[in-house]
């Protein structure tokens, strides 16, 4: 079942003409003919959960915004920076109007009149495509005042970031969009009450918003039949690392992970075996080859001690040292920590140092305990989850591959002496 990827490679789908020929903006017409509450009810029935990482139900988030006339904002989080994730890139590049239509409907539901797409600065091609698409939509009357003769007004601005992973965190994103350094804010107040420019703000991921027109078209109840009971619908999974056919695949939630990794993506190269895999980007605790038969959905991944996250599977095969993976992971979070909270700023730094010590042959197995305790002291002690995002995968690697870490320490010490 393809929704988001249906006809995605149609030449010129990024133009209004082709998009409309494929039935584009019909969902918007349908939504605008309905009451706001009715559209929200459809979203509620669909059970659509946020595709950015947290998996929070979209309709709930939209309903948190206060009613009444005031400056409210919709921000599309297109700062796709989670290592292993590249689904939004393909959606924005090939079907920008799908996202724009979803945003107009979401803004209608939430009673929002100003919207922004915060796209990471590195995605220049995609931002250019979005800019052109927004211009086309405006010229065709899908954006602006009294959209299609309704009482719904909406402006849309494509805002380019300048390279910072932390801006994918919603409050840091809002700060960055306000022209500040991208530092996360203390929550509460949550963005739904006090977000961009102190106004109520709905922040949603690209894939979540791009799914909205499909829900409106087919009806929430119909959409909820896809996937599992608590993880409804389809999801784009980005598979990368040691697989033969890396790329984006649209799956129904709940299919076995093996089907994604070994079926769709072709599994590891000839003669190699899967050692570990991240089910939801580099922030998710790693799973092993034993977990391949688990269903790929929000609950099952959580039950297995990991998370679905942004739906990015990174596969590590047996030719790769897990210590190298841990070091790369830790270095990434050290680089991207904004420095606001001490446990994250110092914890990521010291984790890198300890891993480098293991590599240099200066460590003892006792250092693994120390490293694990540093991870524990990061989790839950910061304003945002960037520190946790390092602590959880590193903690899981040390736990699940302790033997390999110890062997690495011994081997490095032998060389060193």
């Amino acid at each position: 079942m393809k929704l988001l990827f249906k006809g995605i490679d149609e030449p010129g789908l990024n133009t209004l003409e082709v998009y409309q020929r494929q039935g584009g903006y019909q969902a918007l017409r349908k939504a605008l003919a309905m009451q706001r509450g009715e559209v929200l009810h459809e979203l509620d029935l669909s059970g659509l959960r946020g595709r950015g990482g947290a998996g929070f139900q979209m309709s709930k988030k939209a309903s948190f915004l206060p009613k009444g006339a005031m400056d409210k904002y919709l921000v599309c989080n297109a700062d796709e920076s989670e290592p292993g994730t590249f689904k939004d890139r393909e959606l924005m590049q090939k079907n920008p109007h799908g996202l724009i239509e979803g945003m107009i409907i979401a803004a209608y539901v939430a009673g929002v009149n100003r919207s922004f797409i915060f796209i990471r600065g590195e995605y220049e091609l995609q931002a250019d495509i979005l800019d052109a698409a927004v211009e086309e939509a405006r010229a065709a009357g899908y954006l602006g005042d009294a959209i299609l003769g309704s009482d719904h007004d909406l402006t849309m601005v494509v805002h380019r970031g300048a390279g910072a992973y932390i801006c994918g965190e919603e409050t840091a994103l809002l700060d960055s969009l306000e022209g500040k350094r991208g530092n996360p804010r203390l929550k509460p107040p949550f963005p739904a009450n006090q977000g961009l420019y102190q106004g109520p703000t709905l922040v949603n991921n690209v894939e979540t918003l791009a799914t909205v027109p499909h829900i409106v078209s087919m009806g929430g109840a119909e959409y909820a039949k896809l996937g599992t009971e608590a993880s409804t619908g389809t999801k784009i999974v980005s598979v990368s690392g040691c697989v033969q056919r890396p790329g984006n695949y649209e799956i129904e939630l709940g299919v076995p992970a093996r089907e994604i990794i070994c079926g769709l993506a072709g599994g590891p190269p000839e003669g190699r075996a899967i050692k570990a895999w991240f089910p939801g980007g580099s922030s998710s605790p790693v799973l092993t080859a034993d977990d391949l038969d688990l269903a790929y959905d929000f609950e099952t991944m959580a039950k297995a001690g990991s998370m679905l996250g942004s739906g990015s599977v990174i596969v590590v095969d047996d030719s790769i040292s897990i210590v190298d993976v841990a070091l790369k992971t830790a270095k990434f979070y050290r680089h991207e920590s904004c420095g606001k909270c001490t446990p994250c700023r110092e914890g990521t730094n010291w984790t890198v140092k300890m891993l480098e010590r293991i590599d240099a042959g200066d460590a003892t197995p006792m250092d693994l305990e120390l490293m694990a305790s540093v991870q524990e002291q990061i989790i839950g002690n910061c304003l945002c989850v960037l520190g946790d995002s390092m602590a959880m995968p590193i903690g899981s690697m040390v736990k699940k591959f302790r033997g390999e870490f110890e062997a690495h320490i011994e081997a490095a010490r032998a060389v060193h002496v």
């Binding site: 393809k2 990827f5 006809g7 995605i8 490679d9 400056d71 796709e80 920076s81 989670e82 290592p83 292993g84 994730t85 590249f86 890139r89 393909e90 990471r120 600065g121 590195e122 220049e124 091609l125 601005v157 805002h159 380019r160 970031g161 300048a162 390279g163 910072a164 992973y165 960055s176 306000e178 022209g179 350094r181 991208g182 420019y197 980005s238 990368s240 690392g241 040691c242 056919r245 890396p246 790329g247 984006n248 695949y249 649209e250 769709l264 991240f278 580099s282 990015s312 990174i314 190298d324 993976v325 790369k328 990434f332 050290r334 680089h335 991207e336 904004c338 420095g339 700023r345 890198v352």
Partner: protein
């Protein structure tokens, strides 16, 4: 947010004491954009020469937001495109047009990876060295590119965190154009294309790549 030792991070003049050896990620926090000027004073637009084109770009950016501060990243990006980096002069120009202090502008420029507060080579070559790409040989690719472009002021080759293109790993972003998957030998071709001002590795550009999902391709 660039770490010490990386471009844009720690280019102190020779002989100066190198700071932040402990690995802090806030290099330059105590460096004013221009020590002869007060960074806390908004430069006067009447006495600050701003190229017309740049000024128009910054003003257009400011007009797009309810609050002019939101335009600071677009403005700095435009100034960087004009000057090659966020030089003290560029910072002053942005500050003057936006009616902000240079210190504020520097605080933004130092936070983001794509803004440079020190001079860099003309063409950006970002090599993704994150988990997926590094497992497929990105570190060797980066090394090769660094060797090929050593001392060449046309290039700003640097390691970059995940660029969101793990499906074409190992990959690089050349002035914003994504290319991959790259073999080691592609490094030479890449630098030649940049030198000649051609489209970089046309066959390997992301823009040409079909979706991996075969069913979607057929739908």
């Amino acid at each position: 947010m660039s770490a010490a030792g990386e471009p844009g991070g720690d280019g102190q003049a020779a002989g100066r004491i190198r700071r932040f050896q402990h690995g802090s990620r806030v290099p330059g926090w105590d460096r004013a954009s221009d020590l002869s000027k007060d960074p806390a004073e908004v430069p006067d637009l009447a006495t600050t020469a701003v190229p017309d084109e740049l000024r128009a770009q910054i003003e257009a950016a400011m007009a797009r937001y309810p609050d002019r501060h939101s335009a600071v990243i677009p403005a700095l990006t435009a100034a960087q495109r004009h000057h090659g980096w966020c030089s003290p002069e560029a910072i002053d120009q942005v500050a003057a047009v936006m009616r902000l202090t240079p210190a504020y502008c520097v605080s933004i420029a130092t936070f983001y990876d794509m803004l440079y507060t020190e001079p860099v080579g003309k063409h950006d070559v970002y090599v993704c060295t994150n988990i997926s790409c590094s497992m497929l040989g990105a570190d060797a690719l980066l090394e090769r590119l660094l060797e090929l472009t050593a001392g060449d002021s046309d290039f700003n080759v640097r390691a970059f965190e995940c660029l969101g293109a793990c499906d074409i790993g190992p990959m690089a972003s050349v002035d914003g154009v994504y290319v991959g998957p790259l073999e080691l030998d592609d490094a030479q071709l890449l630098t030649e294309d940049v030198k000649a001002g051609r489209a970089v590795l046309e066959e390997k550009q992301l823009a040409r790549r079909p979706v991996a999902d075969e069913e979607a391709r057929a739908s």
